[in-house]
Symmetry: C2
């Protein structure tokens, strides 16, 4: 298949939404934005050998490529609407592309995200998604709104994806059934779309945790000009993580929990008065929303361990150029 | 420098436009679209070794990475507004990044395009730009509006960029001064932004020629359900191309002229009655707009050579997976 056949077969589709005036197949897509709304745009690039292994399941890569972008939109409180997909591929392997698009489309369909454009070229396997979401004017949740006295919350649990990598690398032991559920967290992150929308008017600041909890929370603190103290014991995690934290793989576990990355949970801050609304949101979504600390005036992040002592140094966040 | 230092130093800047509510530095950018306007979105990915050489001037790559996207917006008749830049880089080489951003920013500044988001990661050098433009509601120029009897036009001249590559590869001889002007066409394409905007209400269909004239014109014909006949002698080209077409490198020259790619000129169709308005636009822009043929009912593209005979087979368009 040549480039145009690949595009025609796997990427081209007719516009579905009335807001897509022109979809895939022209020089650009044309979208109509609804009066009173603003558009949120985000882009993420995933590289083979860095974000996924060369032999990774292409369907999972298709899922994750879109999921990490929807996670960014969720962190802004945006409703996902459209996506563009650019990809460099080593060859036009129809099976790989078909499986990738199955994973991509399944997630897109669940969140009613319409693919409106893209680009394909030959090269080292690299996927780049641009996602476009919508918020009511002025309702986007930023990183810069945290205030002293706000409570720091996180959704879901932390460290599972990083544990999966540590287990794959042989750095910690695990049972087969544990391994599979951790790998699911790594390969099929679930963007917290409904949570992000639910947090409009509740959260004072939010972001999605992709590079590790402490590093990413640090971005909220920097952008807001504040600090925070969080309790290690309050950071929600799964059973495997719990047992490792109590055992002799504690260092690896701490690294995974606080700085491992690939969690794709939301971290947000809110005034203490929002406690009931947040608890109600957690029940509605059947998703744990856990207070883990408070915003302080003193810049910097302090993590207190199980005995109330300051953890120092903090595990380092993932750095793409480190 | 780590990833965040790279971003802070070269990519982050404060929002300039009042329509950028949130710019670089959050999970997504938030943009306001003007009432009565629609947004045009396009994405292009450039890969080292495919779209540019490993030792190519990074400033030129910065220019071209943005230029090819603005060219797509121009083909839709859109005013460029915003861009997002995702890049995989083999290392955080500050000099390379600084030079790349000089080229990118110089072009962005000329067209008042604001960088509102991005992503950086380590990987084989790959650049992906998402460009967002604006058109009055319903005014976007598509590929599908060509009608039988329309005149086919092109802007500028064709084949120079492909000739530059052919000369580099030693397939055709050239003087040093010729080589430098052809290379400029290859490395510093000028997006036809003002032309695209000027063609609103004039062109019935348009696209930008990135993969070769005949192949790309074929996309207009396919999308519009028509055919066309064009005259080889009418296709505008530079002096070097002219002399090669008349000499013994005719085959290479024909390939470059009709299917070479990297021209980044616009090809458009218009009713014959638009002739005067198009001539006036050409004068205003000081840019040749040349009629090269007519749209016909019979599907397919026919190219007549200098003696009026059908050129067959046509040189093949560039295919990324060919």
């Amino acid at each position: 298949m040549n480039e145009f056949e690949v595009i025609a077969r796997y990427f081209r589709r007719s516009p579905r939404s009335a807001d897509v005036r022109i979809g895939i197949g022209d020089d650009g897509a044309v979208i109509v934005s609804r009066p009173g709304s603003e558009l949120v745009v985000t882009v993420d690039m995933l590289v083979e050998g860095r974000h996924f292994a060369a032999n990774a399941d292409p369907e999972g890569i298709g899922h994750k490529t879109l999921a990490v972008n929807l996670s960014d939109l969720a962190a802004m409180g945006a409703l996902p609407r459209f996506a563009l997909l650019a990809g460099a591929l080593p060859s036009s392997d129809p099976q790989w592309i078909a499986a990738f698009m199955r994973g991509f489309d399944a997630l897109a369909t669940r969140y009613d995200v319409e693919l409106i454009g893209g680009d394909t070229t030959r090269g080292p396997r690299t996927l780049c998604v641009t996602a476009i979401g919508e918020v009511p004017a002025g309702a986007a949740i930023t990183r810069s709104g945290a205030r002293v006295g706000d409570v720091v919350y996180v959704s879901g649990t932390f460290g599972d994806a990083a544990l999966a990598l540590a287990i794959e690398a042989g750095r910690v032991p695990a049972q087969a059934h544990e391994r599979s559920s951790l790998e699911h967290r790594l390969d099929r992150p679930e963007p917290r779309v409904a949570l992000g929308i639910g947090l409009r008017g509740i959260a004072s600041a939010a972001l999605d945790v992709s590079d590790g909890l402490t590093g990413d929370l640090g971005h909220i603190l920097d952008a807001s000009g504040v600090g925070a103290t969080i309790d290690l014991a309050a950071v929600p995690c799964g059973d495997v993580m719990h047992s490792l934290l109590d055992g002799n793989a504690r260092a690896v576990a701490l690294q995974a929990l606080l700085a491992g990355g690939d969690d794709y949970e939301l971290c947000f801050t809110a005034r203490p008065a929002m406690r009931e609304r947040i608890a109600a949101l957690a029940r509605t979504l059947a998703l744990p929303l856990t207070p883990i600390g408070v915003v302080t005036a003193e810049p910097g992040l302090v993590v207190r361990d199980e005995r109330g002592e300051t953890l120092s140094p903090l595990p380092r966040a993932f750095d793409h150029f480190g």
